[in-house]
């Protein structure tokens, strides 16, 4: 009998425990709900935006976790209620079920709390959520205040910049943008890229508009990170421990010597890229990269040669929209036989075999096998890549503003150029003449 009585008491106790645990779980749920409601409400008030779901739920569940942590305390027992059998050990099925229950319920109620708080926040702070496709947007559109501009399905990369994330491109592809009405094409050309840059976290936007305002071509790119993309080809950047030379700044040429007293020898020469404490990053020729030892200290000696502002120009160029592209002149390509002055953009260097021609004259003819480095805006460089020598009208249009360049300085240039337009010589003949 006693054993039976004990069992009854035990069962009663278990039922009692379960009931109390359930009530506690509900209580904790309420706590999570309140915490989530509060944080969502405050977030709405401050930012006018809705809090991310994860954030609100995390705050709610965290409040519960903190409470539980305090309740479990140092003795490692889960106390459901002092009156019902005291604490149960942490590693126990009943405790596990209890804790699991607490967190599942808290998670759900926190989400409910978030919705509640969001709603309350909107009411109290008088915030109206606007859906770009919703009723209000339709109303604004039907009043003729905005027009839709549809972005193309394929978003391309801009040559010379790091490609943007695929996610951004997917986001943009085929997207409908709403822009104010009565924008001229030029305004749209300025405004749309500015919006894309601001809203989609890209650094460079290049778009071409058709006459009706539709977007024909859209290319985006981001600013390259790190030192790698900024190194000229066949060079490496090496961080070396050295005597800091106080007068040295970025771009200064230096000699690197081993720090061996009498036996000091020249390791290589390079240019300084950055200095931090006693560590200097030096850009050197890739062939000399192996000459450095890891635990060696080096001495930097300034070369007497005058420093160059090329690095400064490079960083300015890097930040600007304009960039440099490289084109090879193919034997049967459209660029062969063209004048340098006809290319869109500015030719910086013409590489012909082993010869380098800096800033070639406008009347120089491109030959097969030439490599041309051209500086220009994305639009110009795109024109260059799609260069087609048959498009006479476009060329004369392009050359229109160019005539101001040649006007005062160079008679010969103007003559050749004019002879071409006025005499109506076939192209081939003229390039043969100049060659």
């Amino acid at each position: 009998m006693t054993s039976l009585g004990g069992a009854t008491v035990g069962t009663a106790l278990a039922v009692d425990w379960t009931l109390t645990a359930l009530v506690h779980i509900l209580g904790f749920g309420l706590l999570a709900c309140l915490a989530a409601t509060g944080v969502t409400f405050v977030y709405r008030g401050y930012s006018t935006r809705s809090i991310p779901t994860g954030g609100a739920v995390l705050v709610g569940v965290s409040a519960v976790a903190l409470w539980l942590n305090a309740a479990i305390g140092l003795d490692g027992e889960v106390v459901v209620s002092e009156t019902v059998g005291g604490g149960t050990p942490l590693a126990n099925r009943a405790s596990a079920a209890y804790l699991l229950g607490v967190f599942v319920v808290s998670g759900v109620t926190a989400e409910l709390g978030r919705r509640l708080g969001d709603h309350l926040g909107c009411e109290v702070f008088d915030i109206t959520t606007l859906d770009a496709r919703g009723e209000v947007a339709t109303l604004v559109r039907s009043a003729g205040l905005v027009v839709e501009v549809e972005l193309p399905e394929t978003i391309e990369d801009i040559d010379g910049y790091s490609p943007a994330d695929d996610g951004i491109k997917r986001d943009l592809a085929g997207r409908t943008m709403l822009v104010p009405r009565r924008l001229t094409l030029d305004e749209l050309r300025e405004r749309l890229p500015a919006r894309l840059r601001r809203d989609f976290d890209v650094d460079h936007v290049h778009l071409e508009l058709a006459a009706g305002g539709a977007v024909d071509h859209l290319a985006i790119g981001v600013q390259p990170d790190g030192i790698g993309p900024s190194l000229p080809s066949e060079t490496v950047a090496v961080a070396i421990r050295s005597d800091p030379s106080p007068a040295a700044s970025t771009g200064d040429p230096v000699e690197v010597w081993t720090d061996g007293g009498e036996s000091s020898r020249l390791v290589t020469t390079g240019t300084i890229r950055a200095t931090l404490g006693d560590v200097t990053t030096v850009v050197i020729d890739a062939a000399h990269a192996d000459a450095f030892a890891t635990d060696e200290t080096y001495r930097l000696v300034m070369q007497p040669a005058t420093p160059d502002d090329g690095h400064e120009l490079a960083s300015v160029l890097r930040a600007a929209e304009e960039t440099v592209t490289v084109v090879d002149v193919e034997p049967d390509g459209p660029l062969r036989g063209e004048f340098v002055g006809w290319l869109p953009g500015r030719v910086l260097v013409l590489e012909r075999g082993d010869e380098l021609l800096p800033f070639p004259g406008a009347n120089r003819t491109l030959e097969a096998g030439d490599t041309v480095f051209v500086l220009g805006s994305p639009t110009q460089l795109r024109q260059l890549l799609a260069y087609d020598s048959e498009r006479e009208d476009e060329r004369s249009e392009r050359r229109g503003p160019r005539s101001r360049d040649g006007g005062s300085s160079s008679g010969s240039d103007v003559e050749t150029a004019d002879a071409d337009t006025e005499s109506g010589f076939p192209r081939g003949v003229l390039s043969k003449l100049t060659q």
């Binding site: 010379g160 190194l231 490496v236 990269a289 005058t306 380098l356 800096p358 800033f359």
Partner: protein, 107 residues
């Protein structure tokens, strides 16, 4: 050690320029330099005598100009009238002759 990579042709082009004996100079535009700089801007490769010429590659406009915040590349000679800073590319000796030794140039 960082190796060079990527599709950045700016640095490649600049190092090619350096190889061919050209030097870049960042100059502050002053009234007496303006004429020299304007000539460099106009010299859009008239003849092939560029090896001795200096070329105006970029200008930064005055604060009160509407487009002051950006560098303007490959500008025409007129742009120098409203410019405060400029990048000129040319032979070092040529640059020294026209704009003085680098020490005099504000850096």
């Amino acid at each position: 050690m960082a190796t060079s990579h990527g599709t950045n042709h700016e640095f490649e082009a600049l190092s090619r320029l350096a190889e061919s004996g050209q030097s870049v100079r960042h100059v502050t535009v002053t009234d007496e330099r303006r004429a020299t700089l304007a000539r460099a801007g106009d010299g859009d490769g008239g003849t092939d005598g560029n090896e001795t010429d200096a070329t105006l590659l970029a200008v930064k406009r005055r604060e009160d100009d509407a487009r002051s915040h950006d560098w303007e590349f490959d500008p025409d000679g007129d742009a120098i009238d409203v410019a405060t800073e400029a990048f000129v590319v040319g032979k070092r000796t040529e640059l020294n002759e026209r704009f003085g030794e680098p020490a005099e140039v504000s850096r």
